[in-house]
Amino acid sequence: MAGRLVIKLASVAAFLLAWHVATTTGAVSSVFLPSPAQILAQAQDLIASGDLWKSVLISSERVFAGFVLAGLVAVPLGVVMAVWWPAKAIVDPFVSLLRPLPSITWIPLTILWLGIGEQQKVAIVFLGSWIYMLFYTLAAVQRVDPLLVRAARNLGAKDVAVMWQVILPAALPGIIAGLKITLAISWSCVLSAELVAAQSGLGALIWQGKDWGNLPLVLVGMVAISITVLIADLIAERIERLLLPWERHRRT
């Protein structure tokens, strides 16, 4: 394992070195790609002024709000659709029509309805996320082993107990896996919304860099997105482990 880490670090260092050499010797013009040092200097400025942190925070808040709202709607709906077929029949046609629409196609309508403030960003995250959550939840509940339900009923469980003590815990790993995948989708939604119309957030930061011809700023924004999403994934991973203590043994 230690050997693998060494190789990973060496790989990154070699890449940065090649980048540095290419941009400082003039092999690649700084008009097209700033050097790592320029990006670092830009990042230091942004950190010192507090702008970077503000952008990360505001984008994170938008993702969080949209993601939670989508989860509150989609997860219960998915469970109901999985266990009660009329619900699935009612919702299915709309899901089929809405699924092919990328979240950015909602931007004109949401701006018309909600302006370009926070609500519109949250709406874009919501609209781009809920269908995926619905699909993963539906699939997770449908995959629950019917033998477990049989066993529970044989042990005297009634409908309510079967739902709360068998179907939901059995489907939980699949639901959480789906939420983790959707989280990355939620992030791409908020960034696209911020690129099109926003005064704040990481997407807006990148767009500012573009408008001002400040390429290092664009790259700082991109790196900040990567790091923020990675950290969000790590937090999600932690929460998953806390919620699913039994899954740890299955993986080993």
Binding site: R150, A151, N154, L155, K158, A161, Q165, A170, W246
Partner: protein, 263 residues
């Protein structure tokens, strides 16, 4: 005396599409007395599991009736506890949680629940594993948890569907002894499904030899081997004689079935 569990001329067919039906069980009749251990013995696909699923109320007979205390079984019946071949443990619950599940459904108070679970965990020799999850246990241990879980729920009848078939020979033997010990202590009524003549002879008071598809009662034998029993009973001459007798019955079935398939 009224039998605790009985099947009256039970037939069960399954539709396999295009209007075709398969008869899994045909005209099956059996009375099981309280405290008796009955083995249903037959080759795979002879309808033994179908019969067990009807005793548990998982499925209904196409014709005839299955009765518990003379009352038809029309839905999943918690008084007939099932031990599944594939364990069917709840992976998100610890050993303790699994064993307590039935008691929780019966709304037994928490401290009483813990006490009773502890007793059955001890009975199946899993002390020290209370806080382990099923995935951390071996197959034999998982099957013990299933047994403890159903015993803690205290059903009147135990329905066991080839519970030890997936275990290695030594663990199986250990589990058979455990079952004998538990059954002789509790005098629980047990219907035990197996395709092993040895297993039937070691465990059963009566052996129901089933014919190959469609599943019918071919013959019901009293197992005269003395009790309390131990797996070493296999070394006795009586055992060998009974085994030969059953083997002759089963062999004719295998041949008949094989001949049908060859046609």
């Amino acid at each position: 005396m009224l039998p605790i569990l009985s099947a009256e001329h039970v037939t069960r067919t399954f539709s396999i599409g295009r209007g075709a039906d398969v008869v899994a069980v045909q005209d099956f009749s059996l009375d099981v007395a309280t405290g008796e251990l009955v083995c249903l013995l037959g080759a795979s696909g002879c309808g033994k599991t179908t019969m067990l699923n009807m005793f548990a109320g998982f499925i209904q007979p196409t014709e005839g009736r299955v009765l518990l205390h003379g009352e038809p079984i029309t839905r999943i019946e918690p008084r007939c506890g099932v031990v599944f071949q594939s364990y069917a443990l709840f992976p998100w619950q610890t050993v303790q949680g699994n064993v307590e599940f039935g008691l929780r459904m019966q709304r037994v108070p928490a401290d009483e629940r813990r006490r009773r679970a502890a007793r059955f965990i001890e009975l199946v020799k899993l002390q020290g594993f209370e806080r382990h999850y099923p995935a951390e246990l071996s197959g034999g241990m998982q099957q013990r948890v299933t047994l403890a879980r159903i015993l803690a729920a205290d059903p009147e009848v135990l329905l066991m569907d080839e519970p030890f078939a997936a275990l290695d020979a030594m663990t199986r033997q250990e589990m058979q002894e455990e079952l004998l010990r538990i059954q002789e202590a509790s005098r629980k009524t047990v219907v035990f499904i197996t395709h092993s003549i040895d297993e039937a002879l070691i465990l059963a008071d009566r052996i129901v030899v089933m014919s190959a598809r469609p599943g019918r009662v071919k013959v019901i034998l009293d197992n005269t081997l003395p009790r309390p029993r131990h797996v070493t009973i296999q070394l006795s001459p009586d055992y060998a004689a009974l085994k030969a007798e059953i083997w002759a019955l089963v062999e004719s079935e295998v041949h008949r079935h094989g001949g049908e398939q060859g046609r």
